[in-house]
Symmetry: D2
Subunit: 153 residues, 4 copies
């Protein structure tokens, strides 16, 4: 599978009065990770929605997560995401967040490929995941998105 | 158990380019629901943290959620939350979000009662949930937090 | 002018490691206040966008804010919002947040009534604010949105 | 002055039903920019707060912003931030966001160096900005934080 790992710098605004990452941010990052995974595979969700008015993205159907250790302001954490199962109209993602050698969170999600329901465009129907998407996300490679700092005097 | 139901108005900023609630907001609302549940039971988390420097809140250990239907800008949804299990140092919460007769989401969370680890104050130790908290959250009543509109001409 | 005041309960997730409201939340609340002001005046932004594919909402053009005092977890603050100027294609909003007798923030915003640019639908053109919207938001009344708690034993 | 420019990838969750960045995110990014500016200058806000219990960060006193053009999902925008004025106990920041050659937003903020008020630790007093901070943020250099993508087959 295509494995993406991306660095995330924990910001002040990610943290709560207990001075650790407020847990909903991890769910926000899971969404960002899927967007990035599709993007590095050549599928730009925004363009796809703009070009195909009936495409509805990849709605979340189910998710679970185990929180093992907290992260704090300034920490450079790494989000690892890849597809862990292909169904017909659905797929699973595996998510892991690490800080150095420490695993902060492990989770999984089931999502569908969504289109407007032809009988009721306000509602959504799951449709087969396109073969091109399956093929691209199934390639055996690792892509890393990293943060760099350069000084220009 | 003490059952809390609270109304939430879906705002523009809760929704994403698919024009439905961006799913991390549900996790944010689960946090708000626990805060409200403790508050109506007489336990104000902010005061507790201010008075007891070693108290670390009620960190999330594990969570799962099933997403059944979307919500949209302007919807008045209801968040139902109650304790579903008492452990020694942990407890489970049950969360359900509804829009009229439709269930949008069902989820559960396991959380601990957290204090600074005496051996390493930067880390956290789970300690027994205080009896007074258990008693108050176990009372058999229903509390509703609702949004009202009044006009003054 | 139609003056809206709405209660907001400060949540755990609104606050940062300094244990006060993280300031971007006030800007989020300003957006929610405009949505609520339009809604109580009879204009539901979501419906308007769904019915009129070229309507683009009321984008922010300029804003300023003075922060006078912080708010904390559990505080019940009040957001006061009303139109303070009508232009042809733009309008100004006045925002004030209070906690009891204390003013927390005063700000103003200039916004436009946005539609797809007929020459380039991806971009936006400011168009005259509809007369019906001006009339409804100019009515001399006060509407309060409040939070209530009810117990059912 | 030390000028920081940092790349930000616009995510799905940053955008609203109008399919452009929801404006409060820019205010969130301004906070992140100050944190990053202090960090690249050698001042880690989280460590400073952990080491000095009376330090209260750099609260925002006043801000203004002009919004010139929208950004959309997938856009790689650049946030430019630097100190534009030193006062005794306050300082101004200049913020600019660009997408390619297009300026999206220009804004300024006034902030103070905050400490617990010795007469009332729950409130805040502005104190002189430390000379070491002034010196480091006044250095004439440019630091860029960039996002990189690497593939490992």
């Amino acid at each position: 599978m295509l494995r993406l790992s991306r660095e995330i710098r924990v910001e002040w605004g990610h943290c709560d009065p207990a001075r650790i990452v407020y847990n909903p941010n991890f769910y926000d990052w899971m969404e960002g990770g899927l967007l990035a995974l599709l993007s590095v595979a050549g599928f730009d969700l925004a363009t796809m929605i703009a070009k195909d008015v009936d495409f509805r993205g990849t709605p979340l159907v189910r998710g679970d997560a185990s929180f093992m250790a907290p992260a704090r302001v300034g920490d450079l954490i790494v989000h690892h995401v890849e597809v862990s199962r292909w169904g017909g109209k659905s797929f699973d993602l595996s998510h892991r967040f690490t800080l150095g050698e420490t695993t902060l969170l492990e989770g999984s999600q089931t999502r569908v490929w969504g289109r407007a329901n032809p009988d009721n465009p306000a509602s959504l129907a799951a449709v087969p995941v396109p073969d091109a998407v399956k093929a691209a996300l199934s390639e055996d490679k690792v892509i890393r998105l990293t943060l760099h700092q350069e000084t220009q005097v």
